[in-house]
């Protein structure tokens, strides 16, 4: 207090007040802008998903319907834009059709639903038949928003598939026109028995299975924008090359990978071009090529590692990537011909950039206190590119890496290494609602499909 003796008390108080105001203002500001552009900040719609009415005597009906009901609820809950009426708050009603729907019961407490999804689920002659409706509880005169029907062969997978489709219809209709992600997939790397292969799972972690069976180390899967191929890098006899796996044909297809270590392929959003790291002369640089590998162009010339490019999917006119040109890796951005290079991170250890679908944000992994001997706290951050302001999304122990945006821009999938094991997690793009998607350990490098 000796040093402050010269200041008068009111003067001191006003400085303190200003400092307090600034710190509050900064904190509020850092949270606010994260929400815009994703509908995450818009007031959530209170939605009830009724258990569907079992409308057949077939013995499969009960189990398949349970799968359907659970999946539908989960998809709507995951969307990030609904305040779901929990099943315990919902009236114990299973209306099979609009004639059986009692909207007043759903609109009243404790449900207080603004919207209700309901319908019938039947299994007849080996086929699932679903009729689903979405009703506006605030508009009893003319409540119908959606009326849909679905038919698929009876199986657990198809019970989930129909739920995903219906959920996406609801999400797209009520979520400002951004398509739902319930039918999207996540590609990732699974370490099994000394090798690493590319796997696929539904966006909610269901149905995980191996795609490649190359018996080596394959990394960095990136599915093409039209879902027909996965580009990835794989360790062959002569080193790392970029390979393509056709999801249509179910086997690898040829790709003209340049000589030398080639890594981290990334698709432009029109599927026409790839960017990747290639070390033709021993120093990894960023290259672009056509989707078949032709028209190869080198676009960086920095000493040191250059890797992990990502295109601005809105324009395909910019690429962000990770460069070790000044020492510890930092995130940079340039035009897709290599001009106008800008550095985006100001220190620490920053890697694995992923560009948001609306072109506005980069998600990346950052350890801001990195250095020899430091315990390592690598978290997922997002940065607003125009202002360079960033927000930290994860605060856990362990190492987070390889964030990948969902196509609705509302979710980010990432890798979390904790206690020796590595799993894939998902969260909303404001860092809330983190759930684990995999459980067998050795899972890494997730990539969210474009649709």
């Amino acid at each position: 207090m000796r040093a402050l003796k010269g200041l008068s008390l009111p003067h001191f108080r006003s400085i303190l007040f200003i400092l307090l105001l600034l710190s509050l203002e900064w904190k509020a500001g850092a949270q606010d802008w994260v929400r815009t552009g994703t509908n995450l900040g818009a007031a959530r719609i209170r939605l009830a998903a009724a258990d569907f009415n079992p409308s057949s005597a077939d013995p499969q009906t009960a189990t398949l319907k349970t799968t359907f009901d659970t999946t539908l609820y989960s998809d709507l809950n995951n969307a990030g834009i609904f305040d779901m009426v929990s099943k315990s708050m919902a009236p114990p009603l299973t209306p099979a059709s609009p004639q059986q729907m009692n909207l007043a019961a759903w609109a009243a407490a404790p449900a207080n639903a603004a919207m209700v999804a309901f319908g019938s689920f039947a299994v007849n002659g080996g086929q699932i038949a679903v009729y689903g409706w979405l009703f506006d509880a605030k508009n009893p005169e003319s409540p119908q928003i959606l009326g849909k029907q679905y038919n698929e062969a009876a199986s657990q997978d198809n019970a989930r598939l129909i739920a995903h489709r219906f959920a996406d219809e609801i999400i797209t209709r009520l979520g400002g026109g951004i398509p739902g992600i319930a039918e999207t997939h996540i590609y990732f790397v699974a370490a099994r028995g000394g090798n690493k292969e590319i796997w696929q799972m539904d966006y909610d972690g269901q149905g995980a299975h191996a795609v490649t069976h190359l018996g080596t180390i394959s990394l960095s899967p990136r599915v093409s924008p039209n879902n027909d191929r996965i580009a990835f890098s794989s360790l062959g006899k002569q080193g790392w090359s970029i390979r393509m796996f056709s999801l249509v044909l179910g086997r690898p297809v040829s790709f003209n990978s340049p000589a030398g270590t080639t890594l981290s392929p990334a698709w432009s959003s029109d599927g026409a071009k790839l960017a990747f790291s290639a070390a033709r002369s021993g120093d990894p640089e960023i290259f672009t090529s056509d989707a078949n590998g032709g028209n190869l162009k080198q676009i960086t010339t920095f000493k040191g590692p250059d890797v992990s490019p990502t295109w601005n999917p809105k324009t395909n006119a910019q690429i962000a990537w990770c460069s070790g040109r000044t020492g510890l890796p930092q995130i940079y951005m340039m035009d897709s011909d290599g001009t106008s290079v800008q550095r985006l991170t100001d220190g620490g250890y920053a890697t694995s950039p992923s560009w948001s679908p609306n072109g506005q944000f980069l998600a990346f992994a950052w350890n801001r206190k990195y250095g020899p001997g430091a315990p390592g706290g690598q978290d997922i951050y997002i940065m607003d590119i125009a202002s360079k302001r960033w927000t930290q999304l994860t605060h856990d122990e362990g190492r987070q890496d390889f964030p990948s945006w969902s196509p609705d821009g509302r979710h980010i999938v990432f890798q979390r290494e904790k206690g020796g094991g590595s799993e894939i997690w998902t969260m909303l793009s404001d860092g809330t609602e983190q759930h684990r998607l995999t459980q067998s350990s050795g899972n890494s490098m997730p990539n969210w499909s474009w649709k």
Binding site: K196, I217, L219, S220, S233, L235, Q238, G239, W240, T261, L263, S264, S277, A279, G282, D283, P284, G304, P305, D306, V307, S308, C322, G324, G327, L328, P329, Y349, T351, S352, A365, G371, P372, G373, G376, R399, D401, F402, S444, M445
Partner: protein
């Protein structure tokens, strides 16, 4: 008798006129063709190169030559060849390629010398090197955190590695670039590439032919130990060698 005299006289005058004409106006009569000149055809030119100009036993090189104004071109030890071309050669000892080009304008020649390095004397244990002996003599070089610079201790190790490889010139090696398990998989693959190439460059500077050294990055995919301490992390930050079969 008189007409004969007239005719005779007329032809005499004609001949005389012609002769006079020929004598006064040389231009009017085409000159006889000149004898063939001693050297008006262009002389042939020739050049020949061999790339590289030094090889190890068993290695190959490319002979390249071009000539002009020559109709008969031959290279000693190769035979008659076209006016220009290339040829792969794989001699077992040093050879001088002598090209002779002959043409109507004369002949010329050119030479290129290919040196074949003498093979090292065979080791007392035989020509083959086993893995254990290799590992004892060709040691890994270690790197600082996030660096691919060759430190002084690494430089010493790499110089020793280069000596061993020079003494066993038939050996080929693979240099693996490795990283500790902190940090990001993709970045570490790129850093491992830089490390492998830095070690390769150090060997090349030490006199080892680049075609004997192949590089592979393992990033952090292959670990030599698993403890979370600096000692283990340092052990993983390396350029390591193995025999390339």
């Amino acid at each position: 008798m008189r007409t004969l005299q007239h005719r005779h006289f007329a032809s005499l005058i004609a001949v005389a006129t012609l002769t006079l004409a020929a004598g006064c106006h040389k231009k009017a009569v085409p000159p006889p063709p000149p004898p063939p000149p001693a050297a008006t055809s262009p002389a042939p030119t020739a050049s020949i190169t061999v790339t590289p100009d030094t090889i190890s036993p068993g290695g190959g090189a490319v002979l390249a030559w071009k000539t002009s104004d020559a109709t008969d071109i031959s290279i000693d030890g190769v035979g008659t060849v076209n006016a220009y071309g290339t040829q792969n050669v794989q001699p077992t000892e040093s050879t001088t390629y002598h090209l002779v080009a002959r043409g109507p304008g004369g002949s010329t020649d050119a030479t290129a010398r290919l040196t074949v390095n003498a093979a090292a004397p065979p080791q007392s244990t035989g020509e083959t090197i086993d893995e254990q002996m290799f590992e004892q003599n060709v040691k890994p070089a270690f790197f600082d955190y996030d660096s691919y610079d060759i430190r002084p201790d690494a430089q010493t190790i790499l110089a020793q590695d280069a000596s061993f490889l020079a003494a066993h010139p038939t050996l080929k090696v693979v240099v693996g670039g490795y990283c500790d398990d902190r940090g990001s998989a993709e970045y570490n693959l790129a850093l491992g590439e830089n490390r492998a190439n830095a070690a390769k460059q150090a060997l090349v500077n030490g006199g080892i032919a680049p075609d004997r050294i192949r590089t592979v990055s393992y990033g952090k995919e292959k670990q030599f130990c698993s403890q979370a301490n600096e000692q283990c992390w340092q052990l993983n930050r390396r350029a390591g060698f193995s025999l390339d079969r």
